[in-house]
Amino acid sequence: MSSTTRSSRANGAAAATDRTSTGSNGSRAAGTTAATAKSRTLFVPGNEACAEGALYAGLGFFAGYPITPSSEIAEIMSRRLPERGDRFIQMEDEIASLCAIVGASLTGSKVMTATSGPGFSLMQEALGYGIMAEIPLVIVDVMRGGPSTGMPTQGSQGDINQIRWGTHGDHSIIALTASTNQALFETTVRAFNLAETYRTPVVVLYDELLGHLREKLTIPEPGELPLVERLRTGVPEGVDYHPYLIREDGRLPMSDFGGVHRYNVTGLYHDMWGFPSTDPRTVDELAHHIYDKIELRADELAQAREFYMEDAEIVFISYGSPARTARQVVHQARINGQRLGLLELETIWPFPARMVRDACRNARSTIVVEMNMGQMYYHIRNAVENPRSVFLSNRVDGRFITPKDIRRVLRIVEGQGE
């Protein structure tokens, strides 16, 4: 199997220490954890792989509200967190859940909530708060069919755009996805690392199919995957600490609530003290800061897996579990001598435009495979040099996209009829 991972050292571990020495080949490919003496092999659904990833990353606080198909994550946390002396709470709704984890994050805990589309819609306001106040958070969105209550027990990828654009105001966000339980585990760890590194909410999203698909998960031994811990200020007691004074490297060291520094946190535009401000310069700087700290690092944050891309004439671009179907199609086509390749995106936001453009440069056609009406397709069209060479193979009926579905589109794209 010809597969490579394309990424920069984007798991954030490097950012804490040495940004310049990390090149494009320093990263561990997602899904590559090998069984070792101290690793543990489990057979678990995707939701449990995600939960295990969070626990591995050092999750200390979880608040959530049950919703299919994500509820298993809350159930696991309600059992596992108190075992470690950590805390779980079932809040009165998703709004409260996201607010509660913001509060807990400010005390120094690594925090997470998990939901599905309808719950994510309710979280949008507090998500904006997390972005504005620069709070490290991880939000898991196990996608189901929508809009509205939609199809609770069927898969979809309909939340791609709501996680990016759902909260009001100019902002950016980091969102990661995966197509196997092993990759999901590592993606979740990476989400915590990026949340801490960039002081921002990070979304882990995947669809119902992966959430409930059981498969092998090897949990690496402690220390095998790098973890980014909270960057705390070194400013001593009695000396002014400026919670929102951006360091030269773009980072903002934090101080835990309950610690020696007392400061204000607000969802209003604020100055370096965290105090509300409408001063145009202050507002302008902050608006650019929360946008640029992510968007200007799009290349660095971009991560994807490539399959047979070296000489691909037709490139599939997919993400999440539909990428498995695309990979199956590509794999079989290669056996038949067809030059197909697959770029499986693992970073959804910030949109990996350069990576997509490069991948499609030499392709005759690009086929985007996703389970929505083309939410990623339009971004991919905008990114490539020849938008007319991009086609969509999708499915929105709640059923998992099949190799047959993709091959049908492939035939049409290739002018071979249905």
Binding site: T153, L209, L213, K216
Partner: protein, 198 residues
């Protein structure tokens, strides 16, 4: 070698648990690859339920079962809903009383009195799902019988009834005189088994 299996029934019969145990045996006990997924409605009990299991020596890319090498059914509703999933020449394993075999299916049909035998042995209907697993393992060799038993021991420590149900499934196959079925390199089930009914 890749086995694609579907087990169908109605909610409350332990269909999904059976699928999980089968796949888990392959992964945890045998170090192989497996995926298990399920389809179910909002009903906790009584609704149509199906679990898909793929077991392979290599990484499994596409996780859904399209053409099943084997379909096992514990309820007639499931049989009528899912019989089209069996690939031509595949296997159909059913419960004699709960899901009587359908005529004119292009597959080899095996009927066993799973629920009747479990009821006779234990006086209840619990563990029929484990009984069918014992039969599947013995009939197909998709997982080794002893590994299945190990998996049951780990999952239900000290539960002798669970283990007995698995062995009962094996006995039903042995007593029926069917020979084990093997999967050919071409993905077709072997032709040396006799198609017959109990």
């Amino acid at each position: 070698m890749i086995w694609k299996l579907v087990i169908g029934g109605v909610g409350g019969q332990g269909i999904i648990t059976a699928g999980i145990i089968l796949a888990e045996t392959a992964v945890i006990q045998e170090g192989r690859f497996a995926v298990q997924s399920q389809t179910y409605g909002a009903e906790m009990r009584g609704g149509l339920t199906r679990t898909d299991v793929i077991i392979s020596d290599d990484e499994i890319i596409y996780p859904k079962v399209d053409q099943a090498h084997m379909l096992a059914c514990l309820h007639r509703k499931a049989l009528s809903a899912y019989h089209g999933m069996i690939r031509p020449g595949g296997l159909l394993v059913t419960d004699r009383d709960e899901a009587p075999a359908l005529k004119r299916l292009d597959c080899r049909q095996y009927e066993f009195p799973f629920s009747a035998a479990v009821r006779e042995r234990t006086g209840g209907v619990r563990n029929v799902n484990l009984c069918i697993l014992g039969a599947i393992a013995h009939l197909t060799g998709v997982v080794q019988m002893e590994h299945l038993e190990d998996a049951i021991r780990e999952r239900y420590p000290g539960n002798d009834l669970a283990l007995a149900a698995v062995k009962l499934g094996q006995e039903l196959v042995v007593d029926s005189g069917f020979r084990a079925v093997h999967l050919g390199e071409d993905g077709r089930t072997g032709r040396h088994a006799t198609s017959a009914r109990v």
